[in-house]
Symmetry: C2
């Protein structure tokens, strides 16, 4: 079985995914090509439902599915079994208990980010919400991540529009850092860190790309990568699952606008989209220190990063990024590209 | 001028490199192609020295240069001027004072990682040492990073074999984490974290690829990426600049062995190599808390990561990696590929 291992030097967990084990040859052939079996008979297309595994959830119109969730065929985490934390000499490991689901966003095989509709995105985010609510009940999970990889460079291996949801038995360190930053800010100022950022960004207005009634999209002040984008709800809300129906429409609208502008300015770039929300609030035997009982100091948000070149090599190893596009210019380009 | 900006949520610094400012079009053309001007008349080749900028350092044999250091033509940091820390509303910035140098490793234009010689590598590491000793005298610098990007996916834009040295006015957060992990371990156990790792690895012997008299190369227990490699000196030594001449020969030997094995097993993979050493020990006005006066609890080392596919997209955003190759199998493949 796969396991999570902790690096005592870098203080991060990684999954050693022996279930999807690969040999050196696997990296030599088909580099940067979509998985061939999938192109011939796509398991995500209408009519091939039996190839995708048993349905976990779906949104339907009459008898037809619009969005459906299935288990990942090559899961990094498995839902079965007890969580076991073990030592290995000076090292630490956890067995890879978790969930790894695929959200098939539409029955259509070809939808690029320039042609997403409000309806597809509304269904996608509603699906994220329903799956989060369900998975948060499982007390083995410390964190649940909905995300989308678009394009081979961004880690997608299948072309058919899809997203993923991963439930983890540990909290990723990037999330821990965000949680502790927002908690520290709240403790010292009794204000939300993200609300303060939004106030400054909307007043300054040099990094705002688009806003509607409920959401704002900006290029962050300290963007590590070119054309990085964050989407924030205007209403202070720590948890994505508390998003109401009106806000869901606003979220679909702003995401479609951002996708379209990226498509226009960067000619269909490959990208990653991650939803960052507060961890489940269920009490666990050993509550980590950076958790309060309810994380109301947090503010959920979406991050979209473009995979434009091979520049992230050295950077991902050192955590130090050199970004050749100022967020102010990125915002300017994207602002004017809404048609 | 370029500036460093601090992300108050992720707690990381990024360089907004307006000096190398790019427009969206720059990302559309020549994606994954070496810079054309450089292929026609390579500024790093013998005879074109005047195209590379003024020489900072060189290793010569009679009148011919073997290795030389020049300023980066597109620097992310500039050596001129005072360090200025400024606020921008709730945000923090530092002007991009630092150094950005290029090490031309050999006069030859075509050397792949399968054909490096001990001599080229000995000169490369000796050059790193000399430049570190010189740059560490400058009290504006908090951290100095020698590294190599090999291949387009790894961030190299020029084919001619070269490495880089960056001196930074801030410490990258990955380095801070390592420093605080080794300090905490030393404080609680009065032993070096890295020496403990080496003891366990050499005893277990399942992740060791190669060792010589002074160095060991392993695939780390919690490897985030397939075929990740760390090279450690056997002698406890916090600072790369204290490496003696005998050790330098051992370092050249083990690096050549590792490069060759990677070339054989992964067919000339694109890779990043970073030297991690303790920060300069010069006293500064505001000494950060994770510094002791001399970082003798640290243990310098080298990390080599292969850029095998586009998988690092989602992962670099969350700090959470799914690695499909167990380090034990990676070590096994590499161990047997020394010829």
């Amino acid at each position: 079985m796969s396991e999570l291992r902790y690096d005592p030097v870098k203080k991060v967990w990684s999954v050693i995914a022996t279930d999807r084990s690969r040999k050196p040859d696997d990296f030599l052939v088909k580099r940067l090509e979509f998985r061939k079996e999938e192109i011939n008979i796509c398991p995500f297309c209408k009519g091939n439902e039996d190839r995708a595994g048993s349905e976990i959830f779906s949104i339907r119109k009459k008898d037809e599915w619009l969005t459906r969730v299935v288990p990942n065929k090559y899961p990094a985490f498995r839902i079965e079994g007890e969580l076991k934390r073990t030592g290995h000499g000076m090292y630490d490991a956890v067995n890879a208990v978790g969930a790894h689901e695929v959200v098939i966003e539409t029955p259509k095989h070809h939808v690029n980010i320039g042609s997403y509709t409000d309806q597809i995105l509304y269904n996608l985010f509603s699906t994220f919400k329903e799956r989060l609510i369900d998975l948060q009940k499982d007390t083995r999970f410390r964190y649940i991540l909905p995300f989308k990889n678009y394009g081979l460079l961004a880690g997608a291996s299948i072309e058919h529009p899809h997203s993923q949801i991963i439930a983890l038995p540990v909290t990723p360190n990037v999330v821990k850092t965000k949680l502790s930053a927002s908690l520290a800010h709240y403790k010292s100022k009794e204000r939300c860190l993200f609300c303060d950022i939004l106030d400054q960004e909307r007043e300054e207005n040099s990094r705002v790309i688009y806003e509607n009634q409920d959401f704002v999209a900006i290029c962050p002040y300290a963007s590590a990568l070119p054309f990085e984008i964050s989407i924030y709800p205007k209403r202070h809300n720590h948890c994505f699952t508390s998003t109401d129906e009106g806000e869901m429409s606003g979220l679909a609208d702003i995401t479609r606008e951002i996708f379209l502008r990226l498509y226009n300015v960067l000619e269909n770039p490959q990208l990653n989209m991650v939803v960052h929300t507060s961890p489940p609030v269920v009490k666990r035997p050993s509550q980590p220190a950076y958790w309060t009982s309810i994380r109301e100091d947090f503010h959920w948000h979406i991050e979209i990063t473009q995979r434009l070149s091979g520049v992230a090599g050295f950077e991902s190893g050192t955590g130090f990024y050199i970004n050749p596009v100022a967020p102010e210019s990125a915002a300017q380009y994207l602002k004017g590209a809404g048609k």
